[in-house]
């Protein structure tokens, strides 16, 4: 029995152990990798995927999936950039971008709950439409005359006590979401919806509302990630964020969250995000070609998911 518990425990921590192993191995090979500066930039790089993956975790816990995050990121960022370029106060533009991102998430949610579409199909639709809308809106060209706002620069490039602001946002949302999922009624409803929606519904859970909220959170996180990118790049690009949904889903899967919903944890996603970031960063530093990087990433995800299934 004790042995079994130990095994379970190790499997629970499987992703974490993999992360530590990766860090140790790459650190031994590469002196460049094992610097404080590199770790901070690694964390900063991972904050974009991290925020999106946190939102994605809510959606996947309800038994859904959100393919639209990359497009939501692009469109909300484009709108924000346009607002700023047109002279709107930066604070207001940022707030609006977050609200708009939330709204885009809600649109996916409505298609799923009221329109009774499969989450995969619904968000495939919103992904396509929002990407197209971004192209139309920007006429395929970047928006870059964003002025010289401190606030805008602060989000992506600023730091507090030497810690980059994106990292602070990343950690803050991490802690907030742990609290929401573990300690609140809403969190319980998220899990219950994914675990057995029929039972949850008959126990008085408003399934539709819970799902809507999950997609709204996902949309909002995509928009927030977009703002960090906007700040760092200094311009909005029509192709911004394309393919980001896949990294986010990969991080959630790596973190042990069940794709069927009902089971999983934010800290797992956190570890998953870091694994992907360490792989990206480490393989870059080691000079591995980007073609090979994708293959390595795929293999790591495969191993993680297989070890998860044995439970």
């Amino acid at each position: 029995m004790n042995n079994k518990k130990l095994i379970n425990y190790v499997q629970d921590l499987g992703a974490l152990i993999a992360l530590i192993l990766l860090i140790v191995v790459i650190s031994i090979i590469s002196p460049e990798f094992r610097t404080v500066g590199n770790f901070l930039s690694l964390l900063r790089q991972s904050s974009i995927n991290g925020l999106i993956a946190f939102g994605m975790t809510f959606v996947i816990l309800t038994g859904g999936i959100d393919l639209s995050v990359g497009s939501v990121l692009a469109l909300s960022t484009a709108l924000c950039a346009k607002f700023i370029a047109n002279g709107m106060p930066v604070g207001l533009a940022i707030l609006l971008a977050l609200i708009i991102g939330t709204g885009f998430g809600l649109i996916s949610g409505v298609l799923i709950t009221k329109g009774r579409l499969q989450p995969f199909i619904a968000t495939l639709i919103t992904m396509t439409v929002f990407r197209g809308a971004t192209m139309i809106f920007m006429d395929g060209k970047p928006i870059s005359n964003l002025g010289d706002s401190f606030l805008l620069k602060f989000i992506g490039k600023g730091s507090i006590f030497g810690i980059p602001v994106p990292v602070i946002l990343f950690i803050a949302i991490f802690v907030l979401f742990i609290f929401i999922l573990e300690k609140t009624v809403f969190g319980r409803r998220i899990y219950a919806t994914g675990s057995n929606w029929k039972s949850a519904k008959l126990s008085g859970v408003n399934i539709d509302k819970t799902k809507l909220a999950a997609y709204a959170i996902s949309g909002c996180m995509a928009a927030l990630a977009g703002l960090i990118l906007l700040s760092r790049l200094g311009s909005a690009q029509p192709t911004l964020g394309s393919g980001y949904e896949l990294d986010a889903i990969a991080a959630v899967a790596l973190g042990g969250t069940s794709m069927n919903g009902g089971r999983g944890r934010i800290w797992g996603t956190f570890v998953g995000v870091l694994i992907i970031a360490v792989l990206n960063n480490g393989l870059n530093i080691l000079g591995v070609s980007s073609y090979y990087q994708d293959v390595v990433k795929g293999v790591v995800i495969l191993i993680a998911v297989l070890s998860d299934r044995k439970r």
Binding site: K183, V185, R188, K198, S203, N206
Partner: protein, 496 residues
């Protein structure tokens, strides 16, 4: 075919499921295998048919020791297991299902549909069931699907058919047909191993009976040498006394009323009342609309018109949330798909219907939750390691107790029970009856839908009979007996 299983041991992990279990089957007999849930019946049969391998023991078939490596080998030897969860593909036709894995093909490897259809028709005729082989499986009733499973067994010339709870989802009529088929098979020398919880059926159908308890062989008897009490004693290892505990709840004022409930094509003109402390039994054949009426009351059914009153006040239940707010609880017939989140803990399952009670401003209060759940576990005698015990690792009876705990904690004024003891073993059944009576004694109005007539008769103060979506009668206790209920359920008239 004669089968002898001796000294069978089997453990999963450290958990000994079978300890010196055994079984003896003779030619052409219907042999019941009984025991409480978890007694090891299914495991023993899975060892016989090669789903599991035994740790120790011997299995002798027709004088030869055997050890089937997989169900296919057992099937080739003529032993077929029809599981409780039917093994059918709903999107395929009857004939496609029947020939799955053994399709008749021409020399190019292309399916010969005509031969298969003819062959399927032949087998179905032999069974005496009138089903078109090209019907899609999901168009058939559960009873008919079961016939197809039996037909599949006949196709491979089975000598022994194991049936696990075959009547659990059948109507009375379908059960009759099934029994006739089983008797015909017996005439032809096929043996049946019949696993069931329904004592009445066993005494009606079977020739002999083997009892298992806690994984151990207890006894084998001719059916004529035993009776219900004896059997129950062997199963649970003690006497349980009366099957239905005495009721002494005081019946009070009308708490709940349904008026002119209609749902086109499902039920109509449903009106009835339930009083505080009363248990209203609801009887009727499968498909009579009983479950649908209950779902409608609970706000989980579209297109319903009519009125519902609680304590004389009209209420509107647009969805289950409204119904709960209005003081209604609903224990559904399908514990696994609707009652529980099986992969979650007892705690999460009880909490989900009581989130308001265990939270403040949307934040869960851990201590309150812990106390609530621990109290429920103690109160209802749920056998478990503790609040974090996963529900799918509980026995059926304990799972059902978790469902009861969840609803009792919502303090309902009206509690609807749909098949409250389905898949629950005899010992736990009595616990559940006690829970129901205790609730009634606190003034809860209880509506109990059940397909088990003895249960309805033993537990109810009045019995409402539903037939084809209409109430055909509400019998007071004095007039309630099996005959009267069946008469009303099948469309007959009672002679005054």
């Amino acid at each position: 075919m004669q089968i002898e299983m001796r000294g069978i041991n089997k453990a999963f992990g450290g958990n000994k499921v079978l300890k010196n279990a055994g079984f003896l089957l003779d030619n052409g007999e219907v042999h019941a295998l009984v025991g409480e849930n978890g007694a090891g019946k299914s495991t023993l049969m899975k060892i016989l048919t090669g789903v599991y391998t035994r740790d120790e023991g011997t299995v002798i078939v027709d004088g030869k020791e055997v050890c089937y490596k997989n169900p296919k080998e057992a099937e080739n030897a003529g032993i077929v297991f029809i599981h409780q969860e039917l093994n059918v593909l709903f999107d395929l036709t009857v004939e496609e299902n029947m020939f799955m894995g053994k399709e008749i093909t021409n020399k190019f490897g292309v399916c010969d549909k005509k031969s298969m259809r003819d062959e399927a028709k032949k087998v179905l005729d032999r069974l005496g069931v009138n089903i078109n082989p090209s019907t899609r499986m999901d168009r058939l009733s559960v009873g008919q699907q079961q016939m197809i499973e039996i037909a599949k067994a006949l196709m491979i010339d089975a000598k022994v058919i194991i049936m696990d709870e075959p009547t659990a989802a059948l109507t009375q009529n379908e059960t009759k047909v099934l029994f006739q088929i089983i008797r015909n098979l017996r005439e032809k020398g096929v043996s049946i191993i019949y696993i069931s919880h329904r004592m009445e059926e066993i005494f009606e159908l079977c020739d002999s009976i083997t009892v298992l308890r806690d994984g151990e062989y207890i006894a084998t008897k001719k059916i004529t040498d035993t009776d219900m009490n004896d059997l129950v004693k062997m199963m649970i290892g003690r006497e349980i006394g009366e099957r239905y505990p005495e009721r002494n709840a005081k019946i009070g004022a009308v708490v709940f009323e349904v008026k002119d409930f209609n749902c086109p094509g499902v039920f109509n003109n449903i009106s009835f009342q339930v009083r505080a402390g009363e248990v209203l039994g609801v009887s009727g054949l499968m498909g009579a609309g009983r479950t649908e009426i209950m779902k409608a009351i609970f706000g989980d059914m579209p297109n319903v018109t009519g009125k519902v009153f609680i304590d004389g006040m009209e209420i509107v239940n647009k969805n289950p949330r409204d119904a709960m707010k209005n003081g209604i609880g609903f224990i559904t017939e399908d514990r696994k798909s609707e009652g529980l989140m099986l992969e979650d803990s007892i705690m999460k399952n009880i909490s989900i219907a009581n989130l308001g009670r265990i939270s403040k401003n949307g934040v869960l209060m851990k201590k309150t939750e812990d106390d609530l759940v621990k109290e429920a576990i103690e109160e209802l005698h749920i056998k478990c390691f503790g609040p974090s015990h996963e529900c799918n690792k509980l026995s059926g009876g304990n799972q059902q107790k978790v469902v009861f705990a969840k609803w009792i904690d919502t303090d309902p004024k009206v509690l609807i029970l749909d098949e409250p003891t389905r898949g629950v073993d005899i010992g736990a059944k009595k616990d559940i009856y006690n829970i129901i009576n205790k609730l009634a004694a606190t003034g809860v109005a209880i509506i109990m839908v059940s397909s088990e007539l003895p249960e309805v008769l033993g537990m109810s103060d009045r019995i409402m009979v539903v037939r084809e979506g209409k109430i055909t009668g509400i019998l007071p206790k004095e007039k309630a007996n099996q005959e009267n209920i069946m008469t009303l359920a099948t469309g007959g008239k009672l002679n005054e």
